[in-house]
Every structure is written in C-alpha cells, then in structure tokens.
C-alpha cells in the first residue's frame, strides 16, 4: 500500500485518468474513517468523502506534470477533506433543523454487530467532539486514520511539534472524559 502511494504521483503525472481510480482506492478508507469523526452522520461522511475525491480530480486537472509529481498526496488530499468538513460543519450551524453532532444514530439495515459498532462510533464521536478543534483533528488523523505526525502537520498547516502536543493533550483530555463518564 505504501509503495502504491509512493508511486501514485508519478503515475498520475503520466496518466491522470488511468491512475485516478487507484488514488481513490488507496485513500478512500482512510479519508472516510476520519471524515466520519468530523461530520454529523454517515450520510454526511459519504458526501464529504465523495466530494473530496471530486475536488482532488478537478485540482489535478489544473496542475501540470511537474507539480503533480511533487505532490505529497495524502496530506494534500487531507487538506481538501478537512476544508470540506469545516464548510459542512459551518453550514450545519446555519441550518439548525439538521441534527447536530451525535444527535442521530444511523439506522443500519444490517446485523447486530453493526449496531454495536455504530453505537461505539457515536460514543466516540461525542467524546471527540468535546475536544478543541485542533486536538480532535490531530487525534483522529493520528490514531484513527494512521497518518504520521509530519503528514498531519502538512495537512493542517501547523508545525510537527504542535501536532505532537495536540495529539498528546487530546489523548489526556479523552482519558479525563472517560474517567468522568465512569464516575
């Protein structure tokens, strides 16, 4: 997977349309998993994930070969995704009739295991929503998506050391939250 990711910029520069489906395949699970924590429900997460890759394609369309080859693909895609999540949260605030974070437990057509997983997702979405924005972003990108610190820094436009301390403080805060829940 890492090899594929490393080869992608070169392949995209040579044949954008041919390599694009592999870009989506390689990054879609990570983007979706992260975006799930930054949006209100599964439906919004699917929308934002889809829109992220559409924007990625349109941006690649405007870049020349050299620029595509030099792209730090994953952080670049995440910059786009995080922007869309922020816009979505903002417009949700303007339309208060829409359910807010965690208000809605998605209905799954499937088995009980999925219901449990889903309930778990909701619990964590609530906890993470209690963190300050930068800490939540850093924790999700590091621990859920599995992005290295350097890529998180690149995605969010912060320094690597700030990112590290965001992750650390975020985790500390989550620990306190969980202790309070069980008290």
């Amino acid at each position: 997977m890492t090899t594929t990711l490393n080869q992608l910029p070169g392949r995209l520069a040579a044949d954008r349309d041919g390599a694009f489906p592999d870009l989506v395949r390689t990054l879609q699970d990570g983007v979706y998993s992260g975006v799930l924590q930054f949006t209100r429900n599964r439906h919004d997460a699917e929308d934002v994930t889809q829109e992220t890759f559409v924007r990625v394609y349109r941006a690649l369309d405007k870049y020349d070969e050299g620029r595509i080859k030099d792209l730090q693909l994953r952080p670049w895609v995440w910059t786009i995704a995080l922007n869309l999540c922020r816009n979505r949260a903002r417009s949700a605030g303007r339309h208060p009739e829409a359910p807010l974070v965690g208000d809605r437990v998605d209905v799954f057509e499937d088995a009980a295991t999925e219901a449990v997983e889903n309930a778990n997702l909701e619990v964590w979405r609530h906890r993470l929503a209690a963190l300050p924005g930068p800490q939540r972003t850093a924790v999700v990108l590091y621990h859920v998506v599995g992005l290295p610190h350097a890529e998180i820094a690149e995605s969010t436009g912060r320094t690597e050391s700030t990112t590290r301390s965001d992750v650390r403080r975020g985790l500390g805060r989550l620990r306190t939250l969980i202790e309070e829940e069980t008290r």
Binding site: V24, R25, Y32, Q50, V144
Partner: protein, 257 residues
Amino acid sequence: MNSPDPITSELAALQRTAPVDLLDAVMRDVDLADSYATIEGPTGPAYVAWNGRGITAFVPVEAVGTRDAFEERHPRSASFVDAPPDSLAKHLDRTIETGRLGELPVDLSSLGDFQRKVLEKCAEIPPGEIRPYGWIAREIGNPGAVRAVGTALGRNPVPVLIPCHRVVRTDGRIGDYAYGSPMKRQLLEHEGLNPDAVETTARSGIRLVGSDTTGIYCFPTCRHAKRITDPHRVEFRSEEAAEADGYRACKVCRPAA
C-alpha cells in the same frame, strides 16, 4: 507507553471501510465514467448511457445482449442505474417519439471533428426521409469524402437518436447498417417509409423526382416530393438530366450543390 493503551486501540478500531459504490460515484461525478440504463426504444429495449454532458451511447439490447457485454464494448467504464435522470428522460422520450434530436444533449466530445460534423449533419435529416452518403459529404464541404462519411456513420455512438439509418447508398438502395440492414429497414418502416418501394425506385434507376408545375426536383422522400400528384410527377436518373430539362434543385432537400 509500555502496555498497549486501551484508548488508542479503541480509536484505531474506529477505522471503517468506505462505501462500496464510492469509487463509481466519484468516477461519474468527474465524468470518467458514464451511467447507463435500459429504456424502450423504437424497435424494442435499448441501453442508453450518459454523462454530465449528455448521451454517450445508444444500443438496442438485441444488438449487444447482456449488460456485461454492453459494459465491455462501451469505451469508458459505465455503471448501471435504474433510469436516466428526469432532465434527460423527458428529452429522450421526445426524441424517440418524434424521431428528431430536438433539445436532447448528446456528448460527441470524444469524437474527431470530421465525425462530429457528419453526425451533426445527419441529425438534420427529418424522420421518414432518406439522403445518400454523398449528400452528407457535400453538405459538410467534403464532396470527395463519401466513403469516410460511411465509416463515420458506421461508428455512430448514438444510432437511432442520431438517425444514421436515414442515410443510404448513392444509388438510392438502403444498404448496410451497423446493426444489420433488417433493423435499418425496420426503423425506416417505423417512420412511415416503405423500404420495398424505396428499393424498387432505386433499382429502376430513379434518383430524383420533379414536379412539372413548379419545375423543381427533389430526393424522392423529400416532404415536398411526397406532395407531387401522379399526373405532375417527373422522374430523373441524375441531376444533370433534371437540369437539362430546365428543372432546378429543391432548396429544402438540396439534391444538388
């Protein structure tokens, strides 16, 4: 951290798999993939494909067979959906009903200039009328390109909608069709032409008909030619013969340069 932290392992367990149709949806949104559906065409069910710019393919089901076979021959990836969006469906229904392209958007952007010009000219031929290949060649300013016109029409991605079945051999006979000449005859018959009569006229060497009251000559299926009553109907084997008798070419069907 020496022992695994329960919080971080719970966070890692929040990873999910993206929805299975995400890639398809993205590919459609960026126009790298088309959608397609089955609709009712003039000669039975047909596959119709489209993207954001318009219709990209139209193929009678009987000509290709299964959906897999359609996807295989379609030049780009295509995913099956229930029906075309309303915005396309209403124009599509109208085109099939009237035999005219009207406002139906057709995406010919992947074709070369020559083929696009040929197809755009072909779309001007009204239902129930036919024109020879040479007519298209001349109308698009390439009178020598008769064979190339035949090839361009043979590769028409949207037959029926762009009516290449209305283009016939220079001698007036119905000729070949991408989906076989029986379907070509069936489509013409559906529009009110009698294919046998067309063949008979062609075999007897008649290419043009004129009216001795107006002194104008037309292709035999031109709507003005159809109005000529038998006593006033004059037949010609060539435009030279018609011109020699003092007739002039119809300005609607334009049988001569």
